[in-house]
Symmetry: C2
Subunit: 464 residues, 2 copies
């Protein structure tokens, strides 16, 4: 039962218009996009509009020992924003401003609720962009910081971590702390910014983010390359990256995943039927350059590499088709969801191990009688598999074996989606207990009462 | 007094040939390159040859509460490796192997004692390089990790932090821990790798480093550009970086610093006398590309930008002169030292603030009657100033004011050299106490007895 006197106190402290409770709570604030929905009723959803209000919420929660679950726009895939029964959900949807854009320094300061799309629009006239490109543009920057989001352009531009220069944080005792700043270099103490990035909202609430931007490129081309085997796709990655061509995007999409997205989007890529029939997997490559001449030269060099690697064809897509293909690739999660996927994972392995990993994953899946389709950021070794298997026990056995295999190859359970609730059992089982102990001690330094986003990541207790 | 029974025990535990003590200690192991030499006699210098031996040293030190100062090759500039009286110096000079090179994954695993030069030689036939380029090639990778070293190529390639994918660590209780791995993406728990990078040897001893490599470029050009004012130099930086040209190096060298390095190296850059007479500062730009055509195009575009910005001339240097100029720039520290510099600092400010910072720094210096010459990684806002002032009190007053001014602009005290002993007073005075408290608590998690590299960075106690 919700203690209504607590809600009343919270309303008094941050303003009643910031607080929703009972039937006034919007269902959209009660889940993320994890395929494992867990219905939980929080005490209230709070929408602060300033750092001071966030600090007041933290003090309120600490005084009454109420758990807090921070959330951005709820596009997470791991249950990182699932409410705790009787706890608070702190939604940053009202803190979504661009606070400062410094075009000379290539730096922007934003509030955490701003989405990638809103940020891109705010930057459009500047000639700059935030180059990290997790597929879902409705994702918030706060959420991106929380999971150290990666996405398609990481092969050239890196992940969120490499673009966060500083943070404003609210600790659970209500203290406000600034880390880092608008500089790209520092050797002045432990890097608390980097510690908080990827900590899945368990260390502090992020109220401001200082991001490094990059110049937009003048020219670009999207190249679609069908191959007769998946091995050919994954084997061409090293030569491309060693050549110095620096593609912005280097994605593989297997046959099933490609059928699923082209069908869903009604996308005709103009591939000849005999090529389609011979194709088992596709490579999507985006090149971006400063000049037209360089683009032409890069396409030519790339074409030679691809031909040597056994490409069935090389399609330089017209702009409209290219845009739709990348959009379609972004939509693959939704296509998988509609197709009835029961789990979507984002394991990462050394990129040269991808062919072996996929071959062995197929063998493991066959042994369990489980079916999966896949795509991934193959330049990063980050493989996304949609697993279709309704039997939860069987599916989890398969995933446990797959995670252990990938970690054994030198990889990690999640490349970019985070651990959250969905993967914490596998994460805790496969991690060095020494590392987990250190991480839990660090957690206690920041949040001694354990109130911030509990029951996930390092916290083995089941979600109440 | 050194307790000889302890030395005997240490010799028994790790092997007598690993331990030097008394007059057998080499003076070179008792200091780094800080201009503030502090003579301290340790109990012993130990040179472990394996992770197991490092762990045994940690256990020995913990049992007897003996401080440990880890050291690489001793090229640090902040007193980070100055011994503690009666403590141990753990030198990694014998742990300098390349353990694994994976050319397909662009990953190399090294021991911490390997120098940048040794690593570059080991990579030379692979077509790959470790692109981080702190000037001093005799610096060790372990030391680079310790200070998050940056250097000239950071403007394009980033700093050490962005290239360290994983570490093997020895904790002070002798536990061995691996963090990260040979993957460029991970969202699987707190990033302990990033926490240790830049922690100046205060959290754990690093025994293995997994580094991300980049392809070597086929073509390059070094361009020397004299300007009539320093403001012109610093103002052209933003247009260059916004153009998308992505120079590998973008350095400013003021008139005095340039005279000092050309004289020391006997370097004739072939600049016409009337140009020399009109020049107050130089910009050094290195472009690197995949093709000759792109290099030519980039030089042409750069030339237009430079002409618009008021460059007196644009010299594309012949290869031999270019190599010597970059070497000379690397040697600037030594030139400054020979010229009698009493302090060398590496403050960082937002790059657009560099003109204002240098103007105001000159005014502050004049007020104190202090003289400085400078150069710096102007694309990163990382300014190196050699301060010539023998009166320590006056010099420190000037530096305190300068640091406070730079930090007030959004910068940090050290961009790449670290805090160590030399800058800890200013660092602690100018940092948010909340941040320092968090950092000290994290330190206690890793090193509860406070034995690892004590008396520097966060530790306000004077060096005994």
């Amino acid at each position: 039962m919700v203690d209504s006197s607590l809600v009343t106190e919270l309303e008094r402290r941050v303003g009643a218009d910031r607080v929703s409770h009972g039937s006034a709570i919007n269902d959209d604030d009660l889940h993320d996009e994890s395929l494992h929905h867990r219905a939980r009723v929080p005490m209230a959803v709070v929408r602060p509009r300033s750092t001071d209000e966030v600090a007041e919420i933290a003090r309120f929660a600490s005084e009454h020992r109420i758990p807090i679950v921070p959330r951005g726009s709820g596009t997470g895939l791991s249950g990182g924003a699932t409410p705790v029964t009787g706890g608070l959900v702190v939604s940053f949807s009202e803190m979504n401003a661009v606070l400062r854009l410094d075009e000379r320094d290539h730096v922007v300061v934003v509030q955490p609720g701003i989405t990638l799309r809103e940020l891109d629009e705010a930057l459009s006239s500047s000639g700059l962009r935030y180059p990290v490109y997790p597929g879902e543009l409705s994702g918030s920057l706060g959420g991106n910081v929380s999971t150290n989001a990666g996405g398609m352009r990481a092969v050239r531009h890196g992940v969120t971590r490499q673009h966060v220069l500083g943070l404003e944080l609210v600790l659970m005792d209500g203290t406000v702390l600034r880390t880092g700043g608008p500089v790209v270099k520092s050797s002045s103490g432990y890097d608390l910014t980097q510690l908080v990035v990827g900590s899945e909202g368990t260390l502090a609430m992020v109220t401001e983010i200082t991001l490094r931007l990059s110049p937009r490129f003048g020219y670009g081309a999207t190249i679609l390359v069908p191959f007769a085997t998946l091995d050919q796709v994954t084997n061409v990655v090293s030569p491309i990256l060693s050549s110095g061509l620096a593609p912005s995007i280097l994605e593989y999409v297997d046959l099933i995943a490609m059928s699923s997205i082209t069908a869903r989007m009604g996308l005709d890529l103009g591939i000849a039927k005999d090529v389609v029939d011979a194709t088992l997997a596709y490579l999507i490559i985006v090149l971006e350059t400063r000049t037209r001449e360089q683009l032409d030269g890069d396409i030519e060099s790339l074409g030679e590499l691809l031909a040597d690697a056994g490409a069935l064809e090389t399609y330089v897509l017209p702009t409209a088709a290219a845009t739709r293909l990348i959009e379609a690739r972004e939509q693959l999660f939704w296509a998988s969801k509609e197709a009835g996927a029961n789990d979507i994972i984002d394991i990462v392995v050394p990129r040269s191990a991808v062919p072996r990993f996929l071959t062995d994953a197929t063998a493991i899946a066959q042994r369990y009688g489980v079916f999966f389709a896949g795509c991934g950021h193959v330049g990063d070794g980050n493989v996304h598999l949609s697993v279709l298997e309704r039997d939860e026990a069987k599916r989890n056995q398969f995933l446990d074996e797959l995670f252990a295999y990938g970690v054994g190859l030198g990889g990690a359970i999640s490349g970019e989606h985070g651990i959250g609730l969905d993967k914490k059992a596998a994460f805790l089982a496969l991690s060095d207990p020494v590392s987990i102990d250190l991480q839990r001690s660090i957690k206690s330094v920041f949040d001694p009462q354990g109130l911030l986003n509990p029951y996930r990541l390092l916290d083995e207790r089941p979600l109440p």
